[in-house]
Amino acid sequence: MNRRNLLLVDDESDIRRVAHLSLQHIGGWHVHEAASGAEALSVVEELRPDVVLLDVMMPEMDGPATLARLRELPRMNGVPIVFLTAKALSSDHERLRTLGASGVLTKPFDPLLLPGMVDAILEGR
């Protein structure tokens, strides 16, 4: 079973740290971090992630803008992108999905359950 690559994009180092740990240890992912949309775009070609977890609210380039740019890259064709957001309303989630996200995860999350939620989104595709 090959370890799969996951790109985690969030401007908050606290979130990155805890998510990284749980995704790596429970989910079995190779986790790569990016602190901004720009950084994500600069590493994504080389990294070729199997899935991207993308924070919605980030300074400069926010999640939806980053998603739009990622979707322009041929390499990213068919790669699931999952939003991380602190907005819990289902209408917000609907809106995010219409932007082309494969799923939406809510912050705060339980670090122990996060990998399972990512798997559930990927399986449900």
């Binding site: 079973m1 240890h25 705060p108 122990l112 449900g124």
Partner: protein
């Protein structure tokens, strides 16, 4: 036979797992997950190595891959067959096993669970826990905490690092809030800070902090346009923040923090806890006098009502009290918006599932549509009154509390464990019956809200079970959902013909299982509740009362306890109707109903027996105790003064007769007759009294 499979993986169910798989990266993943749950893990990559490991020590659980480099996994099971001591077995197969093969594995080779690759680790942990449950006595034979799980330690370290900085962040938040409330600071920057803390604090387990930050974020977000309400609302948050900072400083490991991360417990719902919980209702209504009345009315049925006069107050109180239900009046004070209020309430962390009713004095399609879009659970176009309020709370409590119970008739323990896990996580109790022939007894015993039925079972088939249930008048309305791997139209039609209401295809998608089962069970429960209750007093009708009392009587007899029943009749009720009119008479009936209801426990059946007669069943009480209870109710009624249509005040009393099951073996009908005889005695002795 009622085989209820244990699925909870409690912290003291730890043991030794032998993991046999030739893929090292798969082993790493499984090992870390199992160790994290507190189990010790021994690994083997081949059958040979596995045999050697088994020769040293029999593990509690054997997790075995179906195909290994030097042979088939089942060879090892054959080898174990004759052994006196055998582990619980999880059989892992890369290609999903057919149902028949699974059955053979279970029956002939003693496999507990069959899982597929890729393996869901949460499910794996549940299965391991279930197998341990059957083998390892709590605290005995388990493994010492020698291998302290690395992940847990790392998470804990991150958490304490975060905790150390949290105080400082909250101070920033507070000083920012003070500045903004004076019209000075940068509201956008403060909103961004609140947003960050909302997301991170909760992730690190500081839920209360997250909740407060979310409320502040929301307040600031709505004030963006330069609303005049912003400054005072932010100002009100400052003391809340101070409080929080103090609590964080004081609370090393207090209720603010999540318990230390030890095990994954997807359904840590404790049975019985729900029943003790008092429902808390946030009532958002500008009329404070009416609010006060509803607070009293709620108290009479064991519901805590928190009144809020405005949207801002509602947000503040919601944060403080975490209500289960919110009832919001459409017509609020100027500047407040009911739909926005609902949205904001739901946005508070932990309140996504808040049950909300909107009450409106006007009815229009536009209003209903707007309410529906905002996601409310209920829209009522009528002024708020005692009875409508109680009915709303009961209905939402039912939906929110989800105290639903389903009966699963299936001989496959793997599916039963799966259903219990998935539905249990949504608060639905699953009672498993693996002997279909016993279905009618199980229905009588459990009276579930829905039956989930495997179509393909040995012995009595699912079709026969459907027909059997439908042929019984008591259960002809019971929702039945069948599960089947065969989805041909013929099978579906045959199932519907036999009396099924719906079907689910195997393999079952867990979310679909939840929504189908929950939706149907809830509507069935609502229908039953509505049908079972008297429209005027909202008490039970005679037949459902007798059913519940019958159930309680058998339970009490088995437990060696007594059950008392009482019949109550309002004195001179005909005179009330004649002198004051029927409308006033109805009011008297309603109030007497409330007095009785509030005098007994929530779960004690309380009925309008007919006309001006009422009935009560009080489990656990002897005649003397029941007499005391009824005398208390009577004393309360005597303090109430009614007003006739002509403005003349009058008072009402009742007479009551009690019969108890203690020291006799009378059946329910005989008990009711006996209570009736005592009621007759009370009437003849001059009314306004209780006889036992």
């Amino acid at each position: 036979m009622n085989a209820q499979l244990p699925v909870q993986n409690g912290p003291d169910r730890r043991g030794l797992v032998l993991l046999v798989d030739d893929d090292p990266s798969y082993r790493v993943l499984v090992r870390e997950s199992l160790q994290h749950a507190g189990h010790a893990v021994v690994e083997a990559a081949t059958l040979r190595a596995a045999r050697a490991a088994l020769a040293c020590r029999i593990p509690d659980v054997l997790m075995l891959d179906g195909s290994l480099p030097d042979g088939e996994g089942r060879q090892l099971l054959e080898h174990l067959k004759g052994a006196t001591e055998r582990p619980g077995v999880i059989f892992v197969s890369a290609h999903g096993e057919m149902v028949a093969a699974v059955k053979r594995l279970r029956q002939e080779l003693g496999v507990g669970f069959v899982m597929s690759k890729p393996t869901n680790l949460v499910e794996l942990n549940l299965h391991v826990g279930a197998l341990m449950e059957g083998r390892v006595a709590p605290g005995a034979g388990g493994v010492s905490s020698s291998g302290s799980p690395a992940l847990s330690a790392m998470l804990e370290e991150l958490r304490s690092g975060f905790a150390a900085e949290l105080g400082g962040r909250l101070e920033d938040l507070k000083s920012g809030a003070i500045a903004v409330s004076k019209g000075e600071g940068d509201a956008n920057a403060l909103e961004a800070l609140a947003h960050r803390i909302h997301g991170t604090a909760g992730t690190y387990g500081f839920h209360e902090v997250s909740r407060v930050a979310a409320a502040l974020e929301q307040t600031l977000h709505e004030g963006r346009g330069g609303s005049t309400q912003l400054l005072p609302s932010v100002e009100r948050m400052v003391p809340v923040l101070s409080d929080l900072i103090r609590q964080v400083a004081e609370a090393e490991g207090s209720q603010l923090r999540m318990p230390a991360l030890t095990t994954v417990e997807p359904q840590a719902r404790v049975e019985g806890l729900d029943e003790e919980r008092v429902e808390r209702v946030l009532l958002v209504h500008p009329d404070l006098a009416l609010c006060a009345e509803m607070v009293r009315c709620g108290a009479s049925m064991g519901v805590e009502v928190v009144p809020a006069g405005s949207e801002a107050e509602a947000m503040r109180l919601a944060m403080q009290t975490c209500p289960d239900i919110a009832v919001v009046q459409w017509e609020l004070s100027p500047g407040d918006d009911p739909v926005r209020c609902v949205r904001r309430l739901r946005m508070l962390p932990g309140m996504e599932e808040l049950q909300v009713a909107l009450i409106s004095t006007q009815d229009s399609v536009a209003r209903r549509a707007e309410a529906a879009r905002s996601g409310v659970n209920l829209f009522e176009a009528s002024p708020l009154q005692h009875l409508s309020f109680l009915a709303i709370v009961r209905r939402l409590a039912l939906e929110g509390r989800q105290s639903l119970k389903i009966l699963l008739i299936d001989d496959d323990p793997a599916f039963a464990a799966f259903a219990q896990m998935v539905l249990g996580a949504h608060g639905i109790e699953v009672v498993v019956l693996d002997e279909p022939a016993a279905c009618l007894e199980a229905l009588n015993r459990e009276s579930p809200d829905l039956v989930l039925l495997d179509l393909m079972m040995p012995g009595l088939s699912g079709f026969d079970v459907c027909r059997l249930v439908r042929a019984d008048a008591r259960w002809c309305e019971m929702p039945i959902v069948v599960i089947t791997a065969q989805l041909t139209p013929e099978v579906r039609i045959a199932a519907y013909r036999a009396g099924a209401d719906d079907y689910l295809a195997k393999p079952v998608v867990s979310e679909e299982l939840v929504v189908r089962v929950k939706g149907r069970a809830l509507r069935a429960r609502q229908n039953r509740e509505a049908r079972d209750r008297d429209g005027l007093t909202d008490l039970l009708l005679r037949r459902p009362f007798l059913e519940r009392a019958q159930h309680l009587l058998s339970v009490s007899r088995r437990a060696g306890m007594s059950l008392s029943v009482a019949l109550i009749d309002i004195d001179h009720f005909k005179a009330v109707n004649d002198q004051h009119g029927h409308a006033v008479g109805d009011q008297v009936l309603t109030i007497v109903g409330q007095v009785l209801r509030s005098g007994c426990r929530q779960e004690d059946p309380c009925a309008r027996w007919g006309g001006e007669e009422f009935a009560l069943a009080i489990p656990g009480a002897g005649a003397a105790e029941a007499g005391k209870l009824l005398n208390r109710m009577l004393a309360q009624l005597r303090t109430l003064v009614f007003m006739g249509e002509d403005g003349r005040p009058f008072q009402v009393t009742f007479s009551g007769g009690i019969a108890s099951s203690g020291g006799n073996d009378l059946d329910l009908n005989e008990l009711m007759r006996c209570a009736d005889a005592h009621l007759y005695t009370a009437k003849h002795a001059g009314r306004n009294r209780i006889c036992a």
